[in-house]
């Protein structure tokens, strides 16, 4: 008995009635394990809030010192992109909550598909974000150290969006291959994992497409604003429709990736936005706003990436039928994390995009 007690014993497959496999050996019962996990997660969320609070404090400090800078610089942010991303994240919170419910009710299929939806929304969010970022990099709307005074110096154009699309495209190709492989091998378990991953990586391109479309809308001027509003609505409704998007986006990937630049005229022309304030339009002024903007949204995006990682882990476990009405703590906890990430965005959106 004593010679084989390896410390990782709680990994065992055995479903003993006294101490089932999903209950770690140092816990007395399932309730204690669940409570511990939950408390641990809440504490982790507290640290996350404090982590972001540092940046919120910096924001508050600099906004109160230089309110005019924030008013000026926020006009370079595209509120439509922010709004669409808010919608995407809110929707993903819904699917996440549904996933938790499904786990509690042992509805395994719904669980996997809801997790897949959440993952896809996250990818789409990042797609839109990629358009937003690369557009700003093109214009030289960068943190203070690298900020290019708008309308004066010639910004440095680069194929940033293509570069950001490369990893996603690589993932899409890998997952597509995996999916086909599993389809041929009739491996249900692998299909359950590869499918959602493929859809999610394609949703990134859906996001990119959406972002490019909305961003190009800007260049036609404000007169057409209302007309575009309607178009966004359509796209937003279509956001959950992964299959349809997948086809469009697949096409897009195939045509756009190999070095072909997106036409630059789709982007905002810096000369059309109000740049009549030379006092503010410089490194140490507007640049600080963008420093804060990139830090806040960038770290938020890193949290989205982390969330995508753990959701993928949940999909794998769910595909293995590990969650059921007695053991769903991980789904619940990841759900909490995801709601927090969403919640932080709900603060970021008005604070950064809706200053005017």
């Amino acid at each position: 008995m004593s010679d084989i007690t390896i410390p990782t014993s709680e990994h065992a497959d055995d479903h003993s009635h006294d101490h089932p496999a999903w209950l770690a050996h140092h816990f007395d019962d399932a309730e204690q394990q669940f409570d511990s996990g939950k408390l641990g997660m809440w504490l982790f969320l507290v640290t996350e809030v404090l982590f972001f609070s540092g940046m919120f404090v910096a924001y508050a400090l600099f906004r109160s010192l230089h309110p005019e800078v924030f008013v000026y610089a926020s006009q370079f942010l595209n509120a439509k992109l922010g709004a669409i991303n808010t919608g995407v994240l809110l929707f993903s919170s819904l699917t996440m909550a549904w996933a938790v419910r499904a786990a509690q009710l042992s509805q395994q299929k719904i669980l996997v598909s809801m997790l897949a939806m959440t993952l896809s929304c996250a990818a789409m969010f990042l797609g839109v974000k990629a358009v937003e970022y690369t557009h700003k990099w093109d214009l030289g709307l960068l943190p203070a150290g690298m900020y290019i005074t708008q309308g004066v110096a010639e910004p440095n154009h680069g194929n940033w969006l293509q570069i950001l699309c490369i990893p996603a495209a690589v993932f899409a190709v890998i997952f597509a291959g995996w999916y086909l492989f599993a389809l041929v091998g009739r491996n249900r378990f692998q299909l359950q994992i590869a499918g959602p991953l493929l859809v999610a990586s394609l949703c990134f391109f859906a996001g990119v497409q959406l972002g490019v479309f909305l961003e190009s809308g800007e260049s036609h001027g404000d007169a057409h604003g209302s007309g575009h509003g309607a178009t966004h609505g359509d796209h937003h409704e279509g956001a959950g429709d992964h299959a349809a998007h997948a086809i469009i986006v697949d096409h897009m990937v195939a045509t756009s990736i190999p070095g072909q630049a997106f036409p630059s005229e789709v982007f905002v022309d810096p000369k059309r936005v109000g740049i009549d304030e030379p006092e503010i339009n410089q490194r140490g002024r507007a640049g600080i706003f963008f420093g804060i903007y990139y830090m806040m949204t960038g770290i938020h995006a890193v949290h989205i990436l982390g969330g995508m990682g753990v959701i993928t882990w949940l999909i794998v476990k769910a595909a293995r039928h590990e969650f059921h009405s007695k053991y769903f703590g991980p789904v619940d906890n990841v759900g909490l994390y995801w709601h927090l990430v969403d919640f932080i965005w709900i603060f970021l959106f008005p604070l950064l995009y809706l200053i005017r």
Binding site: D13, S16, F52, G284, G291
Partner: protein, 554 residues
């Protein structure tokens, strides 16, 4: 296979006779490297923090040796700056912060609580590896290219210097996560893993102290994380908020930094206070005086500790009102600390005081920490601080608290729980001698520094005006004496591993749960759920010569 394993856990009676302890339970490198046992993780931390302390200590001796002469003995100015930076950073981030909570806390917390392990054993192991990873990152960065910003990384110097600021702050960032996860784990363990009968007010005071510490770790360390990240971004991208060249504000950096780093001071001292509560009571063989006051004051210190960071910046040009408010809050922290000292003192009253090695360290702590605490009063007073700020008075003050407080308590704690950890008794006389040398050496090192400070010697100086030379030399002699004392302590401990007698279950007569399980404890701590009583009930504990330790008689 695992059915066999999990069975004994629910039927403890079967395994009651199981031989072996957590050290001999399994063997081989991997059984340690991948262990989830909190006791082994604690011991690995212990080795890690002791190695860091050795490094930091040698650097301290280099600094003191250099300052023997007014023009400096053997280092260039740049080398001196790099070495004091390395000394400070290693001592703070690699030694003091993880010393008591991560090393002793990991070992003791579940046992004292009566639990089988911490709530998240795998998270616990990953905190350890984060610590190792962060430490390697940090040391490699600093040793290869020489960081010279001081451990505080103040901007804008940290933005200009050629040192590896980004790598070092990355290391701090990783170490911060290690600290957060340890704190989180401990809070959850104490909240959810208490066995029946272990109510909040039956917890040993060390656990109250660690609990308060963990709250600070969880609440303050993320702010350090974001500060380090912003600093890295500032260096990489120039986000502008800390860099005056881009209209940023260096004082904002200081606020961010000290919002963590002042509570961090309490991360360092609170667990040490917890250790002293245990040592004073066990070695006086008498219950702790004013249990609730000590428990509440730990929590009070943890909370007030968050509100006083501004006293590091009294001369930085904050608004007068802000400065005054921070001064007032600073004085509030002194009260709970004073309460603790008086309570420890009266724990001895009408007790049976045995002057063992741990007790001598605890009494040293009382002496040194009282000096450290009282010299905080003039520093908190704004008018005096105008003169004392950034002088050797501050250096001496925080060494009395950090070293005379935390280090001495840590050593006392190690001597106290050493028999439990390794199952061997050390040479008592050797331990007592080490305590004596450390005490004398410490005072000789740092008392002259108070006078240097009042006379106006600024800190972080590689060279100084000749009239300070005599006091600096006294301090250097003291430092080497202190070094000898610490090596004697290390020698006594190492010697015990080879020549020590087998330790009894309860060598000191402690009443907390760790003295119920054998020395060293078995793999699962308690083969059957422990009977939880008052942690400071010493009635019936009597010395048994046959056993070599104390046994409880009814």
């Amino acid at each position: 296979m695992s059915a066999v394993i999990s069975k004994p856990l629910v039927a403890p009676v079967e395994s009651a006779k199981e031989p072996g302890n957590f050290l001999t339970h399994t063997s081989g490198f991997l059984s340690w490297a991948l262990t989830l046992d909190h006791k082994r993780i604690g011991l690995m931390y212990l080795v890690g923090v002791m190695s860091s302390f050795l490094l930091g200590g040698v650097l301290a001796l280099v600094v003191r040796a250099h300052l023997f002469y007014a023009d400096g003995a053997f280092l260039t100015l740049k080398q001196y700056n790099q070495i004091f930076t390395l000394h400070g950073a290693v001592m703070v981030f690699l030694f003091i912060i993880p010393s008591v909570p991560a090393a002793l806390g990991n070992f003791l917390l579940p046992i004292m609580l009566g639990a089988k392990d911490v709530a998240f054993p795998r998270l616990n192991l990953s905190s350890f590896y984060l610590w190792v990873g962060g430490a390697i990152f940090f040391l490699v960065a600093m040793l290869t290219t020489g960081l010279d910003t001081g451990w505080t990384f103040y901007t804008p110097y940290s933005l200009e210097t050629t040192g590896p600021v980004v790598l070092a702050t990355m290391g701090v960032f990783i170490l911060g996560f290690s600290s957060i996860f340890t704190g989180l784990n401990f809070i959850v363990t104490i909240n959810t893993m208490r066995p029946p009968g272990m109510t909040w007010f039956r917890m040993p005071l060390l656990l109250w102290a660690i609990y308060s510490t963990s709250i600070i770790q969880v609440l303050a360390t993320p702010v350090l994380g974001i500060t380090m990240l912003l600093l890295m971004a500032e260096r990489f991208l120039g986000i502008g908020i800390f860099d005056p060249k881009l209209n940023g504000d260096p004082v904002t950096y200081q606020h961010f930094f000290w919002f963590y780093s002042h509570p961090a001071v309490y991360i360092m001292i609170l667990p040490a206070m917890g250790i002293i509560s245990e040592l004073m009571s066990v070695h006086s063989h008498k219950g702790i005086f004013g249990y609730r006051m000590i428990a509440y004051s730990s929590v009070a210190i943890a909370l007030f500790g968050f509100l006083v960071w501004g006293h590091h910046m009294f001369t930085s040009g904050m608004a007068n009102v802000t400065t005054i408010v921070f001064s007032a809050l600073t004085f509030t922290v002194s009260i709970p600390s004073a309460i603790k000292v008086f309570n420890w003192l009266f724990t001895m009253y009408k007790g049976t005081v045995s002057l063992t090695t741990p007790m001598l360290y605890a009494l040293s702590f009382m002496f040194l920490f009282t000096i450290g605490g009282l010299t905080g009063l003039p520093l908190g007073a704004l008018s005096i601080d105008r003169h004392f700020h950034d002088t050797y008075f501050v250096v001496a003050h925080f060494h009395y608290v950090m070293m005379g407080g935390t280090l001495v308590a840590f050593l006392g704690g190690i001597f106290h729980w050493w028999p439990k950890m390794v199952g061997k008794m050390y040479n008592e006389l050797g331990g007592q001698i080490s305590a004596g040398i450390v005490f004398v050496g410490f005072n000789l090192t740092f008392l002259p520094q108070f006078v240097l400070g009042t006379r106006g010697m600024p800190r972080r100086y590689a060279t100084y005006v000749p009239e300070f030379e005599f006091l600096h030399q006294l301090s250097t002699y003291g430092a080497f004496l202190l070094g000898i004392g610490l090596f004697v302590a290390l020698g006594v401990l190492i010697n015990s591993l080879f020549r020590g007698k087998k330790a009894p279950t309860n060598p000191w007569g402690g009443a907390t749960l760790e003295w119920v399980c054998s020395s060293p404890p078995p793999h699962d701590n308690f083969s059957k759920p422990p009977v939880v009583g008052d942690p400071y009930d010493f009635r019936g504990l009597e010395y048994d010569a046959r056993e070599g330790g104390y046994v409880r008689r009814k």
